[in-house]
């Protein structure tokens, strides 16, 4: 009964979605307030019904109702509760349901908190949002129905893929989807603006918090995925340039560009057309990512061709929205007036530069990800594009971008003084050069590039601090004034500095772990000791253990440094009963910002066991930097002017009672 209710709720959501796709647009066209308001109610109800549908599916999984095909395929009655819940989205059907749940959540948020939007804009935004939602409800109902029943109820489920039985599955996909799907709001706003043919600084002010929220979630979502891959896959890598990773990186790059161009638009009323284009592109890339991941095209062009229903359906959605969006853009963009002139050397100029590099970086990832697919289907030629390609092309772009990053926030709007800024960054160069020298002194010349990278990272971090020092007048003014100025600084300024600091921290982590990591691969017998960096690890022996739905062989290692025991590490190999598959559980020990990482291999006939041991200095900074970026995004999001909302422009200057801009709370 419950699965049928869930199915029915989704059908109702589709019906609501179709109504919301049409009625508010008609209302906006004819300035009919009642029709426009309808979108608000349907958006809230869509969320309610998709939520019910998702709840129904969750109940099927939690109660181990294996008459539901997807629960049978992906769940097991012996799994811990947390995995029963996460396995709801640990498969294609359920993850698409999570996708539309978050999509409808964003629609409902606009409906609930968009009270200060002009009525026509709100109506159009909700309608566009509903076009997307309806397309995906249809996709789920027609090709990926998670509520399908089996003719006979199996006694036991097939279990969730063991590698997904991890807390990572609870955290990573929801966060990633909040980011991915969050860009749909920017897209809807862009399309609505194109439909209305009107766009101004207020538009940017409405779009920015949504973009910022999506970006913040995407940042942390990608980082959590990276950490998950790092500790699960057993060889200590944290980014593999895999197409599915690239699928999430592309919207992130476009979203980061959008975030910066929207600042220019909001403050200076310039870069309007470009901002609209980026808003369309950011979500288009999210859709392309969904297509890449969900269609099966990545595994092989041929597997896509042999079972094309889902892939073709998403491809049609993709082409309709991207093609439609870009066509509308080409047709209407010229009607948008450009405003806000600026000199090439200015804050605006710096942000344009930032956009050029971010979009080129995004294009690089795009080409690298899709080129093999295109070449294979067009010319039948198979090539591989992997990490070495991206390191060579994407790497330099990002390093140049980072080297110039500290200049941006210090440049003045309209016309900046680059020499003045260069002088004000003196302290940052000094810090960078000092870090470079220390890196050379400590690590020697085994890698020439790495110390420069360390120097760059410290210079960017110092640059972010210089920005704050300049603005608060620290070291120049009495502390009382500094404190007052610090408190008076817009939160978005703090957010900028913190986020820029964060990306430098991540860079430092990547360099540290990538260059100065130590790796040993050895076959060990009990009571043998291996030394790794400053640590001595003694293999004590193997022991058998059992968990709720697996049994495991764990190896016990005692870790000593300088003769003092600091702990025990227990990497293991798990065998999952239901699928008879095994996973490798690496053992990690965090030492400062570095980590010891142990992972087991095969047992040899002589009784020894292969072990991979790594020491990865600074590796934690990679994810810690992402958390700092997230904090920066959150700070910026808490900025007063984003919370309070945009002042309403007085459109009738003759009417004195309304000439004063009124602030309306957005929440």
């Amino acid at each position: 009964m419950i699965p049928e209710l869930g199915h029915y709720a989704l059908v109702l959501a589709l019906a609501l979605g179709l109504i919301q796709s049409v009625i508010p647009v008609i209302g906006a066209h004819g300035h009919d307030a009642a029709l426009m308001r309808l979108g608000t109610s349907t958006a809230l109800m869509q969320f309610l019904f998709v939520g019910l549908s998702f709840l129904a599916l969750t109940i099927s999984y939690v109660t181990s109702d294996f008459s539901v095909a997807s629960a049978f395929e992906n769940s097991h009655s012996m799994m811990p509760l947390i995995y029963k819940i996460t396995s709801v989205w640990g498969n294609h059907e359920g993850s698409m349901l999570l996708w539309v749940l978050i999509l409808s959540l964003f629609g409902a948020l606009v409906a609930a908190f968009g009270g200060n939007l002009p009525a026509t804009l709100k109506a159009n935004v909700l309608a566009v949002q509903s076009w997307i939602a309806s397309a995906f409800y249809l996709f789920i109902l027609l090709t990926s129905n998670p509520f399908l029943r089996l003719p006979q109820t199996p006694a036991e489920g097939r279990d969730l893929n063991p590698i997904l039985q991890d807390i990572g599955l609870a955290i990573h996909p929801p966060l990633l989807y909040l980011g991915y799907v969050g860009f749909s709001i920017a897209f809807s706003f862009a399309i609505a603006a194109l439909i209305e043919g009107r766009i101004d600084a207020a538009w940017a002010r409405w779009v920015r918090p949504w973009t910022l929220a999506a970006w913040t979630f995407l940042t942390i979502g990608i980082a959590m995925g990276s950490y998950w891959a790092y500790y699960t896959l057993g060889w200590g890598g944290f980014w593999f340039w895999d197409p599915v990773e690239n699928a999430s990186l592309m919207p992130w790059l476009a979203g980061t560009a959008l975030l910066h161009s929207a600042v220019v638009m909001e403050k200076r009323n310039a870069l309007k057309i470009w901002t609209i284009l980026l808003a369309i592109l950011a979500f288009s890339l999210s859709l392309i990512g969904t297509f890449l991941v969900r269609s099966g095209v990545l595994t092989s062009v041929h597997s896509f061709a042999s079972d094309p229903t889902r892939g073709v359906f998403i491809l049609i959605i993709l082409m309709a929205f991207i093609g439609g969006g870009l066509t509308l853009f080409a047709w209407r963009a010229s009607t948008l007036k450009q405003g806000g002139l600026f000199a090439p050397v200015s804050r605006e100029g710096a942000l344009v530069f930032n956009n050029l590099f971010l979009t080129t970086a995004c294009l690089t990832v795009f080409v690298g990800t899709l080129y093999p697919l295109a070449l294979e289907s067009l010319a039948g030629e198979k090539i591989s594009v992997g990490a070495p390609f991206f390191n060579l092309t994407f790497g330099p772009l990002f390093l140049v971008l980072m080297a110039l990053m500290p200049f941006g926030p210090l440049l003045a709007w309209k016309r900046g003084n680059i020499l003045g800024v260069a002088q004000r960054l003196m302290a940052a160069y000094a810090v960078g050069i000092a870090a470079l020298a220390v890196a050379f002194a400590v690590e020697g010349t085994q890698s020439v590039l790495a110390p420069f990278g360390v120097g760059l990272a410290f210079y960017v971090m110092a640059g972010a601090v210089v920005d704050l020092v300049e603005r608060t007048g620290l070291f120049r003014m009495p502390l009382g004034i500094v404190a007052r100025r610090a408190a008076g600084l817009p939160r978005s300024t703090w957010g900028t500095a913190v986020a820029h600091f964060g990306i430098a921290v991540t860079l430092l982590g990547i360099i540290g772990a990538g260059t100065w990591g130590v790796e040993r691969i050895v076959a060990l017998k009990p009571s043998q000791t291996v030394s790794l960096a400053d640590y001595d690890l003694t293999f004590e022996g193997m022991m058998a253990r059992s968990g709720p739905n697996y049994s495991e062989q764990a190896a016990k290692f005692t870790v000593k440094t300088g003769g003092v025991t600091i702990g025990v590490m227990q990497p293991s190999k798990r065998n999952f009963i239901a699928r008879d598959t095994s996973t490798n559980e690496a053992a990690l020990m965090t030492r400062g910002a570095g980590q010891l990482y142990l992972s087991l291999g095969d047992t040899n006939p002589d009784g020894s066991i292969a072990v991979r041991l790594y020491y990865k200095p600074l590796v934690m900074l990679i994810w810690f930097g992402a958390v700092i970026m997230m904090v920066g995004g959150g700070l910026s999001l808490s900025d007063r002017r984003l919370r309070v909302g945009a002042p309403k422009p007085a459109n009738k200057p003759a009417d004195k009672s309304t000439t004063k801009p009124t602030l309306q709370p957005a929440e």
Binding site: I163, V367, A523
Partner: protein, 155 residues
Amino acid sequence: MRGLAAIGLFFALLGVGAAHAVTPDEMLKDPALEARARALSTELRCMVCQNQSIDDSEAPLAKDLRLLVRERLANGDSDRQVMNFLVARYGNFVLLRPPFEWQTLLLWGLPPLALVAGLIGLIVAARSRPTVSAEPQALSGEEQKKLAVLAKAGE
């Protein structure tokens, strides 16, 4: 397999657990030679895996290739020779960094082209567009009328 860091993991993972790639018995005695083998391995694709290098993959084919690379190196091949040998045998598919050929022209060319075109476009736009330093323009007739209306309303 490596798609864990993105949503594709549900789709990409086909039930193979993670395990070891390079095993102790494969490794060469000479550390310099072994280091070269490792460096080469990161550039070579395990052809039965999804986007994994042979250095990372535990697939039997990857092991065979690792041993082959080491065998060639031990026989005195240069890095270039090893690569050429493998390309002759398996085609460009084995290279994770595709060679620069006419077929990969767009792959390698598009990003720098876009960057250069973008820079040129910006320079042209900056030159042709009036900047803040330009003289303020006189109001058009329509704007003057609007101003007059505003001034009147303000009185």
